[in-house]
């Protein structure tokens, strides 16, 4: 099951398997695994949600989870000293060594300035990498001309309001 969920997250599940997996995900154990993996993934990408509570089931799983994760970051550029709090970990870092506290820290990357000010930036940064982010203005400008969006009415805006939206309501620098 864990392997299936992992593949789902990596976009390696084919369409026919998807429906089966979704019904599986309605169950408690699968959901715990799912949210655990996402908490990890979000933290690795520096996209941790503002007030993600890490449930006891997830915490337990974290403690027992032996998976070694490599950060899925994009093109590394020179180190930045601005408001980026992207987490960069050595590929060998075991997640068990990572403090849960870190995951509740705000992602300052792309987040609104108010959040940036109120938030506690992560402290476990061994290096700072600036991945590619999409300026929201670009996305909106593009969406205007995306024909398939007309099929879905407000659909395209779901990308914007999704709780884990990578396209946060950023204020342009």
């Amino acid at each position: 099951m864990n392997e299936q969920i992992s593949r789902l997250m990596d976009g390696e599940v084919d369409a026919s398997e998807m429906d089966q997996l979704f019904s599986l995900l309605k169950g408690e154990p699968a959901m715990a695994t799912w949210s655990c993996y996402h908490t990890i993934g979000d933290a690795l990408r520096g996209e941790t949600a503002v007030t993600r509570s890490v449930g006891p089931a997830v915490a337990r799983q974290l403690a027992s989870e032996p998976t070694v994760l490599a950060p899925r970051l994009h093109v590394p550029s020179r180190p930045q000293v601005s408001r980026m709090a992207t987490w960069a970990w050595a590929a060998a870092a075991s997640i068990a060594a990572v403090s849960v506290v870190g995951w509740t820290a705000y992602s300052l990357l792309d987040a609104p300035q108010e959040l940036a000010q109120a938030g506690t930036p992560g402290t476990a940064r061994s290096a700072q990498i600036r991945p590619l982010t999409v300026p929201p203005d670009y996305l909106l400008a593009h969406q205007e001309y995306a024909p398939a969006n007309a099929l879905q009415g407000v659909g395209p805006y779901m990308r914007d309001v999704a709780a884990t939206s990578p396209l946060r309501p950023a204020i342009a620098e």
């Binding site: 550029s77 805006y157 990308r159 309001v161």
Partner: protein, 318 residues
């Protein structure tokens, strides 16, 4: 375990699949996009982008030709999008922020150019796959299967009675779903009143920030930027300058479309050497940024990554 019951049905549907013409594809697209605008409906949408799954509540109202809609995110912070005449407002309670966008929805399908209609038929295999059920309703399943590796595949499930899209899936080069949405419940022709499409914050709280966006303003003109390697079937549908929030310099914006999806090219002067560059994939959207001399080129579109990359590396200034 459950897949066993589903698979034979899919197989049978595949056998009865029939080829259809460009005009069929256009008629289907037009019907679906008009249904999305004209009907009154309330439902829950399950939305999957990349590895994430989220749900939203959507309410859509057409009051004598005037459209209103509200989408409330059901997971995490209760963000919402409210669309009224000429305006889209995104509420982010977690950030104490309201973003106001011009309500730019273009119902492009009835007005696709002859070239775009031909592209649809030449570069996609449009087929009515058969019948299925979504959210308990009978649907017609259609596919747009790309004939080359430069486009994604699209599978749509549309309500048999009204044409409204009940489920949609974007498939990558390997036939895997990269983005999809589906209604898990839906009430159509619902009796709605305006209170149901009002924002939860009719008056913006005093400590919230309101961001007005001007991204709708575009001046169509020749920007001097030339895109050499546009995939076949993509036509230039817009070129002009945009003034984007927070940027002193205007940004060149060129849009290409193959009738089903579009690719945007943005070129802006490089202000800092630290500008982000590289690849980004968000569900069915791929973005590629590259620095070129003293400019930053960003290409984004609902196409495979290779397509946006190819385009980005073929841009020169006249």
């Amino acid at each position: 375990m459950m897949a066993g019951r589903v698979a034979p049905a899919v197989f049978v549907l595949a056998l009865v699949a029939s080829s259809a013409s460009a005009s069929d594809a256009l008629a289907w697209l037009t019907r679906a996009s008009q249904a999305a605008r004209q009907l009154n409906y309330v439902g829950t949408i399950i939305y999957q982008i990349g590895p994430r799954v989220e749900s939203s509540r959507i309410t859509h109202m057409n009051d004598d030709g005037r459209e209103f809609a509200k989408v409330v995110n059901l997971d995490g912070p209760a963000r919402e999008v409210v669309r009224t005449q000429g305006e889209v407002r995104c509420y982010y309670p977690d950030a104490k922020l309201v973003r106001v966008e011009p309500g730019t929805f273009r119902n492009v399908f009835p007005s696709l150019s002859a070239e775009q209609q031909q592209s649809l038929a030449r570069y996609y295999d449009f087929r009515v796959v058969g019948d299925d059920r979504v959210g308990g309703r009978p649907v017609q399943v259609v596919v747009f299967e790309p004939k080359d590796g430069l486009r994604y595949g699209h599978r749509f499930w549309s309500d048999g009675a009204t044409g409204l899209l009940l489920k949609a899936r974007v498939l990558n080069e390997r036939g895997e779903a990269v983005e999809q949405f589906a209604f898990s419940d839906l009430t159509m022709n619902a009796r709605l009143d305006h209170a149901m499409v009002e924002p939860s914050w009719p008056v913006v709280p005093r400590d919230w920030q309101v961001l007005e966006n001007v991204s709708g303003d575009v001046v169509p003109e020749d920007t001097g930027w030339i895109v050499a390697r546009v995939p076949p079937g993509f036509e230039k549908i817009m070129e002009g300058w945009r003034k984007l929030r927070g940027r002193r310099e205007r940004v060149a914006h060129i849009v290409f479309s193959d009738g089903l999806v579009s690719v945007s090219v943005f070129v802006e002067p490089l202000v800092a050497a630290s500008a982000p560059a590289g690849f980004l994939q968000k569900g069915g959207l791929n973005v590629y940024s590259v620095k070129q001399d003293d400019h930053l080129i960003t290409v984004m579109g609902e196409t495979p990554g290779a397509t946006v990359r190819q385009i980005a590396h073929s841009i020169t200034h006249r």
